[in-house]
């Protein structure tokens, strides 16, 4: 299993290959399109994270002491960023998720999407990921 830090490093290296914002965005759009769909049972008000503009749904379950995240959004760029977050945080132990930071978002040039004023639900999504980690960590203790 790769650590969260290792995956983040990988992403930073991948994004460093892009020459301009267009390539970066095209890649995110592709990631967004290829994101495995969340089970429709979880695409409801209980799992929604309300941003001002795009809706984000996130669901998590614990299997073999690792958290598996699935998520979705009605906006494709948001979905691309979700795909990145899932790649980083899914299939990881709760403790590692709790200890991880999100500086890599800045390093891959997507900082503006994580600004709290952007109001696209992503800041809340990271918070939600951490909340799930807290909840499952408590279960494991």
């Amino acid at each position: 299993m790769k650590t969260i830090e290792a995956i983040q490093e990988e992403l930073i290296e991948e994004f460093a290959l892009f020459e301009d914002w267009m390539q970066r965005y095209e890649y995110m759009i592709d990631l967004g399109k290829s994101l495995p769909l969340i089970d429709t049972a979880f695409k409801n008000e209980d799992y929604i994270i309300k941003g001002c503009q795009s809706k984000v749904w996130v669901h998590a379950d614990l299997k073999d002491e690792l958290i598996h995240f699935t998520a979705d959004s009605d906006a494709i760029i948001t979905k691309g960023i979700i795909a990145i977050l899932i790649r980083v945080f899914s299939n990881q132990p709760p403790k590692a998720i709790l200890e991880a930071n999100t500086d890599f978002i800045d390093k891959i040039g997507l900082k503006e999407h994580l600004s709290p004023t952007r109001a696209n639900g992503l800041v809340s999504m990271i918070k939600q990921i951490k909340m799930y980690a807290v909840a499952y960590q408590t279960q494991l203790n």
Partner: protein, 404 residues
């Protein structure tokens, strides 16, 4: 004809780069940019005049007071109010609306009815809902048509002797529809109802004559018309304003204070408690001078050309849906392309240095009506150019291609 090149030189922000490219600013309906002439007034105020007003005997205070009161006269003249004291300087449209809603909370009774329109912005919905909760009055809504105009027949059927107040925006912020406010006012008056018109979106394009309109209350913000944020006005007919209780208590709004009884100051000070936004008020006057210097009619006709051009060009894009196709519109286009989320389009346009608004534009009921999460809204001002519209069109095409 406007000399747009010369006008653009007045706006320092228009020469800045965004994401490495020349800024294209098409979010004018959210806030307009500020010309150097207005910036200079603010700088001059703090450099030369800064003092508290209406109370000092010293020279600075007198000069600041004169400048502030001159601005009020400029606003009075611009809107053709009968009296200077019918112009209340507020922090903006939202405060102006809340001031009236607060005043009427002591006048309305259970069973009274208020009418708003389906085209309203949240700040012209929520204060009235709160007022209804407080008083037991009932809120009625004028429905809209698919074209984004008000259903005037439905409006007439909502009016009755129970109707006490009607609130409609002059221009819809989300769609740009110009509402038939003359007709709305005349019909409301026939039932003895008072009318408040929210002019925040209209004033950058239209010069309303409050006496000719016979409107009871008219509100707007300075920052939509080249002025600073945090200042705006409430026009009210003097007999109506006199009948309302003060909004906030504090300095400035009193005549005499003892612990037994305070008597309130006359208009406009009765509604202007505390130290106001002095620099903002003076700059509001300067902004009106600037707009009038260019000419409101010239502004409106140039913006109409921009709107017509942008609409025609956008319509050539496959899958485009324009929301709000009223015959009378200000220079605002709300649109989506196919099923693309407005947030995605807006994010990509932002990368190209093009500033548009995306989302529900604080008018969720309108988005619910069209069953969409939001729109992309491009709103134009007299300092925008046809070339900038070309960049928007190219940007939208590119974004759609990337997203498909």
């Amino acid at each position: 004809m406007l000399d747009v090149k010369k006008i653009r030189a007045d706006f320092p922000i228009l020469s800045r780069k965004v994401n490495g490219q020349d800024l294209v600013y098409f979010d004018n309906a959210a806030t307009s940019q500020t010309p150097q002439q207005v910036i200079d007034v603010i700088v001059d105020y703090y450099s030369r005049l800064n003092a508290n007003i209406h109370r000092g005997v010293h020279k600075l205070s007198q000069e600041a007071t004169d400048a502030y009161e001159e601005a009020r006269i400029k606003i009075q003249k611009h809107f053709n109010a009968a009296q200077f004291y019918e112009i209340i300087l507020t922090s903006g449209t939202t405060e102006s609306i809340n001031l009236i809603a607060s005043g009427y909370s002591t006048i309305l009774q259970a069973g009274d009815q208020l009418i708003i329109s389906a085209l309203e912005h949240h700040s012209n919905i929520v204060p009235w809902q709160m007022l209804c909760e407080k008083t037991g009055a009932e809120l009625k809504v004028i429905p809209m048509t698919l074209k984004g105009t008000l259903d005037m027949q439905a409006y007439e059927s909502l009016l009755s002797p129970k109707t006490k107040l009607v609130f409609v925006n002059h221009v819809s912020n989300a769609l740009g529809t110009v509402n038939p406010i003359e007709e709305i006012i005349t019909k409301a008056h026939a039932y003895g109802a008072k009318v408040l018109i929210d002019g925040a979106q209209a004033c950058p394009h239209i010069k309303p004559d409050v006496q000719a309109l016979d409107v009871d209350f008219y509100v707007t913000s300075a920052h939509k018309l080249c002025g600073p944020t945090g200042v705006g006005m409430l026009y009210g007919k003097s007999e109506l304003l006199k009948a309302l209780p003060p909004y906030q208590g504090g300095g400035e709004m009193i005549a005499t204070v003892t612990f037994e009884k305070t008597t309130y100051a006359d208009l406009p000070h009765k509604f202007e408690a505390g130290t106001p936004n002095i620099a903002g008020g003076i700059a509001f006057g300067a902004a009106l001078d600037y707009m009038n210097g260019i000419g409101m009619e010239a502004i409106a006709s140039y913006e109409a050309e921009l709107l017509a051009y942008a609409t025609a060009e956008l319509k050539k894009i496959e899958g485009i849906i324009i929301f709000g196709e009223a015959e009378e519109k200000t220079a605002v286009i709300s649109f989506n392309v196919g099923v693309q989320h407005p947030y995605d389009l807006g994010s990509i346009l932002d990368q190209m240095g093009i500033a548009v608004r995306t989302g529900h534009h604080c008018a969720q009921p309108i988005m619910d009506f069209f069953e969409i999460p939001g729109t992309v809204r491009a709103s134009f001002s007299f300092y925008n150019t046809f070339e900038e519209i070309d960049r928007l069109i190219a940007g939208v095409r590119k974004a759609v291609k990337m997203l498909q």
